[in-house]
């Protein structure tokens, strides 16, 4: 009987020791991330029937288990994934948000300065200093576009390397989870008890993985985790892991994309399938914000350069030559997919900068047709053949032939900002004057006046011989003397009449008279035989008419189908990025709250409370002391038995 008491005491002592050790382990890991508190599960040993009844046999430890809830942990993992997706998007977009708004990097001040320079040139057309200011401000504007393009490019490269590093992290976590799966299988296999700390370690790895990409965990019968990513791709199956790979986009060699490698087969993963986590945030930022920003700024650059060049070519420089291009204009990027079977070369050129959108396009050759998709809104157009002009971009087949299914990515404005440069280096080449001037020939008797005259794009190709001297015949009320071979169009209040070349032109007071790209207006009552001359504008160093037209382009709606000014389009972009940044700031804070609530709930269940452990410490200490007392008593009982013999 006494030996029985001794063994009961011994079992109590062992249980108290295990309790103390587990409590100590909990205290030691109170701050260990991912640690779940452990508890000793104790039960009474089967009692022994002594005939008069069952006598207890002491205690035993049935298990040391961790306090863990699958449900709460899954919530944490899901919240973790969306929080880090939003965080990574937010961190990236904030940089763009700051870039656009900062007066030292934003576009608005540089555009303003440039057009201010043109106004000053219009006020002092012959001043070399004013011309120098225009060139310097043009250079500064080009620098600003370059700076923005450079920062966007830098961000692109940053996204590429962040995607690569995220993929490395995912692979490393996948391998570790597979390893721990194996370790758990072995540990559990030998004893049948749950290896708590290994389980914690695996859950911790899953949680870390979920920070990189959204994961789905399926628990196998044996307890191993299967980890699924990106719409059903198995990343970890038991002790085996597959890998993601940072690969190059088939249609854009500067773009890192995610590939999935399994059994030696590589599959490219679309942006849509990569959701959640840092990787999801990066991919979404690149597709939805970075490309849009790059294209929007590119479109402003191309729109500004094109409209400015068109007007500049209609002007005359200080030496009497017609203006040349003032800025260099970016050209569309076309890249054929590396998977194409045909040898077609598609080329794209800007036909009308006003019509450009800020979108990229995908051209696919399908069933003998060309299917063009505008990526920003998914609108498709089908053409039987090329060339075609869509949204201001002229597409043509420059050589070869496409095979069925061949794909081409067309980015009309992507290089707009990086290609924007000043093409004029000499102050004398600024075309601030108009190439024509007009006036009455001295000796006129009437009171009629002729307007200074304007030229349009037709003037550049018409080769109108100057001077043109028209004279008025009072008898027939007509004007004659227009250049041979050129029809004359007369417009009054929007209604126009075209007079065939060589015929007298009826005179109407105030009508617009147009021929060979020249437009003039004669007002008043001319005398019989009065003449008006339209001549080449030689030595016109004081003429500022083209400078004024150039300066006024600032407030002209030249972009987005004639709905936006340069600065208006930029303001739209600032507002777009600002709204998205704000939205992300709010949703990321919301996701933060969700996450901390989920973590708190999970910690409430599984976390260590030191006060609780302190009471456990006391509990097990006392249990230990009491067990010791039991042994002491057993000993004393035995002693008293031995005393009987003396």
């Amino acid at each position: 009987m006494a030996s029985n008491i001794l063994s009961i005491g011994k079992s109590a002592l062992a249980a108290a020791q295990a309790g103390l050790a587990t409590t100590g382990h909990n205290i030691a890991n109170a701050s260990t991330p991912g640690y779940s508190r452990q508890v000793v599960v104790q039960s009474a040993v089967q009692p022994q029937d002594f005939g008069y009844g069952f006598v207890g046999q002491g205690t035993q430890i049935s298990a040391v288990k961790r306090v863990y809830s699958d449900f709460l942990s899954r919530q944490v993992v899901a919240a973790q994934s969306s929080k880090s997706e939003l965080d990574s998007y937010y961190a990236q977009i904030r940089q763009i948000n700051n870039l656009l708004a900062d007066p030292s990097t934003g576009l608005a001040p540089a555009v303003q300065e440039f057009f201010n320079g043109l106004h000053d040139l219009a006020s002092n057309p012959s001043s070399i200093a004013s011309r120098q200011v225009v060139l310097a401000a043009g250079e500064a504007l080009a620098d600003r576009f370059q700076l923005l393009a450079g920062r966007i490019d830098e961000t692109h490269r940053g996204v590429n390397s962040a995607i690569t590093s995220s993929i490395h992290a995912i692979n490393s976590y996948a391998q570790q989870i597979a390893q721990v799966n194996r370790a758990i299988e072995q540990a559990a296999g030998s004893q049948g008890n749950p290896p708590n700390d290994l389980l914690d370690q695996r859950d911790r790895l899953v949680s870390d993985l979920s920070k990189e990409i959204k994961v789905t965990v399926i628990k196998q019968d044996g307890g191993a985790y299967n980890v699924i990513v990106a719409n059903g791709l198995p990343l970890v199956v038991g002790g085996q892991s597959s890998a993601l790979e940072a690969g190059v986009s088939p249609s854009d060699p500067t773009r890192v994309e995610t590939h999935y490698v399994s059994n030696g087969v590589t599959t490219a993963l679309g942006d849509q399938s990569l959701v959640g986590g840092r990787l999801g945030g990066l991919v979404e930022f690149r597709a939805n914000t970075l490309d849009t920003v790059q294209n929007s700024i590119g479109r402003i650059a191309i729109g500004l350069a094109s409209s400015f060049n068109s007007q500049h070519r209609l002007g005359q420089d200080i030496d009497g030559n017609l203006g040349s291009d003032f800025f260099t204009v970016g050209t569309p990027l076309v890249s054929a997919s590396s998977a194409n079977a045909g040898n077609a070369n598609i080329s794209a050129a800007i036909a009308d900068a006003t019509m450009l959108t800020a979108s990229d396009y995908k051209l696919v050759h399908e069933g003998g047709n060309y299917v063009l998709t505008r990526l920003e809104d998914g609108v498709t157009q089908t053409f039987a053949s090329l060339p075609q002009t869509v949204d201001g971009v002229a597409l043509s087949l420059s050589s070869g032939a496409p095979a069925n299914g061949d794909q081409f990515l067309i980015r009309p404005v992507a290089t707009g900002a990086s290609s924007f440069a000043l093409a004029v280096q000499d102050t004398a080449r600024i075309a601030g004057a108009s190439p024509i001037r007009s006036g009455p020939v001295p000796g006129n008797t009437g009171t009629a006046k002729i307007s200074p005259g304007v030229v349009d794009a037709a003037y550049l190709v018409a080769g109108t011989p100057l001077p043109v001297v028209v004279s008025y015949d009072a008898g027939s009320n007509t004007l004659t003397g227009f250049p041979a071979g050129m029809p004359v169009t007369v417009s009054v209040a929007g209604a126009s009449t075209t007079f065939p070349a060589g015929t007298p032109v009826s005179y109407t007071d105030g009508a617009e008279i147009a021929f060979g790209g020249i437009g003039v207006q004669i007002t008043g009552i001319p005398g019989n035989g009065d003449r008006f001359a339209i001549s080449a504008n030689q030595a016109a160093v004081g003429d500022n008419r083209n400078a004024l037209l150039l300066a006024n382009l600032q407030s002209a709606n030249t972009l987005a189908r004639g709905t936006a000014t340069y600065e208006g389009a930029f303001a739209q972009l600032v507002s777009l990025v600002g709204s998205k940044t704000r939205e992300l700031g709010v949703t990321s804070a919301g996701a933060g709250t969700m996450l901390s609530e989920a973590v708190e709930a999970q910690q409430a269940e599984s976390g260590v409370n030191l006060d609780e452990e302190a009471t456990n410490l006391l509990r097990y200490q006392q249990a230990y002391q009491a067990a010791g007392k039991v042994i002491q008593i057993a000993n004393e009982v035995f002693e008293s038995l031995l005393q009987l013999n003396k």
Binding site: A30, S31, R94, N97, L100, A101, A108, Q112, N116, H119, A122, S123, N124, P125, S126, S127, A433, R437, S438, G439, P440, P442, P452, N537, A539, A540, V541, G542, D543, N544, L548, A551, N552, S555, E567, F570, A571, V574, S575, L576, G578, S579, T581, R582, G585, S596, V599, E600, Q603, A604, E605, S606, G607, V608, N609, L610, D611, E612, A614, L617
Partner: protein, 305 residues
């Protein structure tokens, strides 16, 4: 409910960090005076502020355009004022030359004076602005507009008037061509003066010559009247344009004031509100810090000895 000790620390730290970052934001707003620090703070206001800034800058540029236009018009006005003096003076000389008591020699002196007037007028017509550009040459400001000939002067300029942008949708001419000033109304001043000088330099020895003199002087007198009228008309137009510039300046000033006000509403921080927010947040932070300290200093381990 159970609470884990590390949650206690984590949430305490998170709350304090949040409060610190919102304090830093208010501090930044106060330090810059700006409510909208980045477009994300108020995307609509940020975009609108860009528009208003553009309008403000354009308004400023238009004011500078008007200032340079005014400078040119003032020079033109000065030259026109001198021109009208010269013409009036020439007219007085012509009237004086009509006095029958004058002899050939005395008429010769008047002719010399008129020759001086012709020179002065020619110099005026070839006047340059401060930057060395001819004022009355039309577009060809680098070419001398008038060249002396035997019978007056020949105009080498053109009919171009320089316009400047004075309003977003309005241009104003700030120059006058030589043809408009000196040959306006069909009267070539140089020709008129040159003609009357040769009339006065012709000796009067016969009744026919005397009649020619009288006719010549009367003709010149009439033409000078018309020329004077023309110069005064051009002057009046220049004067009215100067007045127009003044009116546009004051309108532009008022507009700039409005733009600044709008910009202030869009961007500027409300100091009273921001400072009260600052004190509130500061108080909350202090409370959070103190309560964190109190809470974390409570531990059963303190009583285990």
């Amino acid at each position: 409910m159970r609470i884990s000790t590390s949650s206690l620390y984590d949430s305490g730290v998170a709350r304090i960090t949040d409060l610190q970052s919102s304090l830093a934001r208010i501090q930044q707003q106060l330090a810059t005076g700006q409510r909208v620090l980045t477009p994300a703070d108020d995307p609509a206001a940020a975009a609108q502020a860009l528009d208003v800034k553009q309008s403000l800058a354009l308004n400023h540029q238009l004011a500078s355009n008007r200032a340079s236009g005014r400078a040119v018009l003032n020079q033109v006005e000065g030259a026109l004022s001198s021109a009208s003096d010269i013409v009036e003076n020439a007219k007085a000389l012509v009237v004086r030359a009509g006095n029958a008591s004058l002899d050939d020699q005395q008429r010769g002196f008047i002719a010399i004076e008129l020759r001086g007037a012709l020179d002065d007028l020619l110099a005026l017509a070839n006047a340059k602005d401060g930057a060395g550009n001819y004022l009355f040459a039309g577009y060809q400001t680098g070419t001398q507009p008038y060249v002396r000939t035997a019978t007056g002067a020949l105009y080498n300029g053109d009919d171009g008037e320089r316009m400047i942008q004075v309003q977003p949708a309005q241009q104003l001419a700030v120059s006058a061509t030589g043809r408009a000033v000196f040959e306006g109304g069909g009267q070539d001043m140089f020709r008129t003066l040159s003609d009357v000088i040769s009339v006065l330099e012709t000796p009067v020895g016969s009744p026919a010559a005397s009649a020619a003199l009288t006719a010549g002087l009367a003709n010149a007198n009439g033409k000078l009247d018309k020329a004077l009228d023309n110069v005064l008309t051009v002057r009046a137009s220049v004067g009215s344009r100067l007045k127009q510039l003044d009116a546009l300046d004051s309108a532009g000033g008022a507009l700039a004031e409005q733009y600044r006000e709008t910009l202030g509403v869009l961007q500027d921080v409300d100091y009273a509100e921001a400072i009260s927010e600052l004190s509130k947040q500061q108080l909350t932070l202090e409370a959070a810090q103190q309560s964190f300290l109190r809470l974390t200093s409570l531990s059963l381990f303190n009583y285990l000895s």
